[in-house]
Symmetry: C3
Subunit: 138 residues, 3 copies
């Protein structure tokens, strides 16, 4: 059995993290799938998804870490060709990755107490974003 | 068809890598699934899973690399709020990611000869950990 | 329903990125699956898959970023044991990860306009590589 939903939302700009957990859990509930997994996907090449303890400290630390490891720079090949100022956004999204799968048991996501699913905006400006959740199982 | 198993184990502390390959392969065998994929998930926000050539050199190099890129620091927002000394643990786990899918053909995991599935403890102390394996296919 | 295909190709050497999108899309079409996801897997411990805007600038920037964060070094434990010069290749592949799942709707991959699926060769020399695509859905 497969159940798929997608939705769009606005991000205000670079580094904004959005907690997707409640919304993914609703999709799982609507799927009626008891055992399986929910696959979460960020559409777009300058956004990513992963898990985190979703609290204000880490919502500052995660984007700061990405900016420290992959900082803005005019030296990127992407910048020299396109001049859109988001070379680092692409690198951050590519390294973090766009997809994540969370197992489901007894009709609920299996997550740690402090483990939430999030989307991160890596682009340099606010964007319309789409997340797709595909639930597999029985 | 879906088959799911989970188990718990103890980790002794920060940076310990655990080879999950044999255990995941057993779950695949018990599933009787011939073609599909095994989804491996680390429960908890300070642990991760990926693949590696599981040998002593890399079991030292991978945690050292993570500590170099995301070192302990009192300057993390997470530290300033919670003072539990594991801000870097969260960042490491979030960047590495909690989930992995390995394809299955003829009832066996498709992995390179030197490609093993592992769990890494990113937290600063030993923890009880849970891994969930969900096998999909036919 | 499950449909699986794998293919092999040659990489010329370290840092070469290969666009897999068209090939993955063909596998999805042959599967006849309308709603689901395609799981893409890189066999081997010194290669990885992710998504990127596949253009020449980023095809230079992504491997340069990986080499900057995880540079070649004789100090890796892996080097000291094996002397094969690819300790950084392992670290890069482990952090980027070997697996990716892309959702499918109306029989097509859901990807952003500038979001392509790619394979990256992290090893220090050209290799024969295998990619496995497993399509799930209905």
């Amino acid at each position: 059995m497969v159940h798929q939903e997608q939705w769009t939302f606005e991000t205000p700009g670079h580094g904004r993290m959005t907690d997707l957990t409640a919304r993914v859990a609703e999709v799982v509930r609507r799927s009626s799938i008891q055992t399986g997994a929910a696959q979460v996907f960020a559409v777009g090449s300058t956004a990513a998804v992963s898990v985190v303890e979703f609290e204000p400290g880490l919502c500052r630390d995660v984007p700061e870490m990405l900016d420290r490891l992959m900082p803005p720079s005019r030296n990127y090949g992407h910048e020299q060709a396109w001049h859109d100022g988001n070379g680092h956004s692409h690198l951050q999204a590519t390294l973090m990755g766009p997809s994540l799968s969370v197992p489901i048991a007894k009709g609920e996501l299996i997550l740690g107490t402090w483990q939430q699913v999030f989307h991160i905006e890596c682009d340099v400006r606010g964007r319309h974003r789409t997340v797709v959740v595909t639930v597999f199982g029985e």
